[in-house]
């Protein structure tokens, strides 16, 4: 089963494209729009000259460039200003932009070719101008929009894929970590060595320790997948875990579990509290020569259930794999409760660390 998870994980890693996931809209976009328009305008100019429309290629070229560029600018501006409005309004606004663009462009063209606006508009009616503008404008816009839609869809599909794979990967990873956390070999062998020793020196104590280990392993291992347990069951498991460490560490460990009976029946995801207790011992108390205390406190109010795991150990430090355990808990809280599940870390007073889990209460 472990192998399956590893293989699956590897496959996911290979599939995920290690690229930044955000889109960068740069000036390339705008530049491309203008260059396409320029080419298109030239084609129109040639086409009109063939039809013997207007005053020769040069004039047609200048005028059509002016009209085209002006339409293109108007569309780009409108596109930028109205990109988050409804599609219907967008289309309407784009048509208006095309009309304005064609008139402005025609005026510019008239000035540029030296014909002068008054003569120009005598020759071609405003209606003719706008109709032509709309016709060509629509073709250009359609061309651009469909291109953009295609690339946007592609990006979207890719993004969705990455999202799906990332979440799949996270789930697999956290499952794996959950599995590893439960059967931490160092813990297992050290505990068994203790039991072996106690069999010679204190048989009863040895039996108790073995029973605690069995209780811990049975509860921990049966909770690999996403099923729920209750606060009470989790606390029983943690008591067994603490008893084991109490034997191993002796005077160096003191602990106190203060969880009122009334919250014992509340359903709770498995193995969320245990890694925090493990951290408190492994990173807080074990490195400290004189050891210290672990306090576990639970409470509820109308909305939230709150669990605190505090230790008087060496406190916050940078090294160790302390971070991955915590981010695993965070990820699980987010996937289970969304924004409403939180893991908070604080400095404990007078020393050590305090971890707080807050989850919303299910209505009962």
């Amino acid at each position: 089963m472990l192998m399956e998870i590893f293989l699956h994980q590897e496959r996911i890693y290979r599939e995920i494209v290690v690229e930044p996931k955000f889109t960068v809209i740069n000036r390339m976009h705008v530049l491309r729009a203008f260059s396409y328009t320029a080419v298109f305008n030239t084609i129109i100019a040639i086409f009109l000259t063939f039809l013997e429309f207007g005053g020769g290629f040069v004039k047609n070229f200048i005028i059509s460039q002016c009209i085209g560029m002006s339409i293109c600018s108007c569309i780009l501006i409108v596109h930028f200003l109205f990109k988050s409005t409804k599609p219907f309004i967008q289309v309407a606004v784009i048509f208006i932009a095309m009309a304005i663009g064609s008139v402005v462009g025609a005026l510019l063209g008239a000035v540029a070719t030296g014909i002068g606006p008054s003569i120009f508009f005598q020759k071609y009616s405003l209606f003719q101008m706008i109709t032509l503008g709309l016709l060509f404008g629509s073709i250009i816009s359609y061309f651009f929009i469909s291109r953009e839609t295609i690339s946007a869809t592609k990006t979207l599909v890719q993004e969705e894929r990455i999202k799906r794979l990332t979440s799949e990967k996270k789930a697999v990873e956290s499952n794996l970590r959950l599995l590893q956390a439960q059967i931490e070999p160092h813990f297992l062998f050290n505990t068994l060595s203790n039991v072996l020793s106690l069999l010679e020196t204190d048989l009863d104590k040895g039996k108790c320790m073995l029973e605690d280990l069995i209780h811990y392993l049975r509860t921990a291992l049966s909770k690999t997948r996403g099923d729920t347990t209750t606060i009470g069951q989790e606390m029983e498991m943690i008591r067994a875990y603490m008893n084991i460490f109490k034997v191993r560490m002796g005077e160096r460990l003191r602990y106190n579990i203060d969880v009122p009976d009334k919250i014992n029946d509340i359903p709770f995801p498995p193995m969320l509290i245990q890694p925090l207790v493990e951290n408190a011992i492994k990173h807080g108390l074990e490195p400290k020569i004189e050891g210290g205390e672990v306090f576990i406190h639970g409470e509820k109010n109308e909305e939230i259930l709150r669990l605190e795991i505090a230790d008087t150990g060496v406190g916050f430090y940078e090294d160790g794999n302390f971070g991955t355990g915590l981010s695993n808990i965070r990820e699980r809280l987010i996937s289970l409760y969304g924004d409403k599940g939180r893991l908070i870390l604080e400095e404990n007073r007078p020393c050590g660390l305090k971890a707080i889990i807050e989850v919303p209460r299910a209505r009962d």
Partner: protein
């Protein structure tokens, strides 16, 4: 013949007494002249008794077994003890360094003892250096080899101090001599200038986009560049837009 002395260092009482009783079976003449509960005590015992052999647990509070071994190098034969440390064990195997696995078995202890007896009888001196490969393997256990970028931000919150994983920070914003730390749901002030902060953060994840802004790349939803050459960053979990100044816009250009 002169008596041979040893010390045992392990932070767990049961494990020390277990090793001691196993040793008394396998090597009854060996004198255990002291037991240590942590690295510091082990060092003191070794200086006091000058034992021929030191049994050192790798993971101990205070000083690790490795650090003790480094300080007493050449004076005693060292046998490391570990419950399960894959990399360390591999290194010990490769370098023929003595080690014992917990729980200690009769057979294995017998082999180790025989080797020690042979070496001491032949008056071979303990090696005067610790192979680098072993040091590295054990450093790996404690993950101390990489200097590491900042992973946690300590910030005043109410009347306590809160620890925030840097992964959760959306962006940092300079605010006089202080820096504002903005996460999805909170805004905290830390007493560190953004100039210092930028060197401590992982440059692959945290990008400086402005004289007064460092953004977490994971929280960037979109970057658009204005025609004036500046950029605007839209964030994933926060409403505000961040400005990319002209001198940093090149970060986004390469993509």
């Amino acid at each position: 013949m002169q008596e041979i002395k040893a010390i045992i260092a392990d932070d767990e009482d049961q494990l020390r007494s277990y090793l001691k009783s196993r040793l008394s079976e396998v090597w009854p003449e060996l004198v255990i002249c002291g037991e240590a509960r942590n690295g510091q005590e082990a060092l003191e015992l070794i200086e006091k008794h000058r034992p021929d052999i030191a049994f050192l647990d790798i993971r101990m509070p205070g000083l690790s077994g490795m650090e003790v071994a480094k300080r007493i190098v050449g004076s005693s034969w060292v046998v490391f003890i570990t419950a399960y440390d894959k990399y360390a064990v591999e290194a010990f195997e490769n370098e023929a360094i003595d080690y014992l696995l917990k729980p200690v078995t009769h057979e294995r202890l017998g082999k180790t003892v025989k080797r020690l007896q042979k070496q001491i009888a032949a008056s071979i001196k303990p090696p005067s250096d610790m192979p680098e490969i072993v040091e590295r393997a054990i450093a790996r256990l404690y993950k101390k080899e990489k200097p590491g970028y900042l992973r946690w931000i300590r910030a005043q919150h109410g009347d306590g101090i809160r620890l925030i994983p840097v992964d959760e920070v959306c962006y940092f914003k300079a605010s006089d001599k202080y820096t504002l730390v903005l996460t999805k749901e909170s805004e905290l002030l830390i007493k560190k200038a953004i100039k210092e902060l930028v060197d401590e953060l992982d440059p692959n994840q945290f990008w400086r986009i402005h004289r007064s802004t460092i953004v977490n790349a994971r929280y960037i939803a979109k970057v658009s560049s204005s025609l004036t050459g500046r950029g605007v960053v839209k964030l994933k979990d926060r409403p505000e837009l961040l400005t990319v100044s002209r001198s940093y816009i090149h970060i986004f250009k390469q993509m």
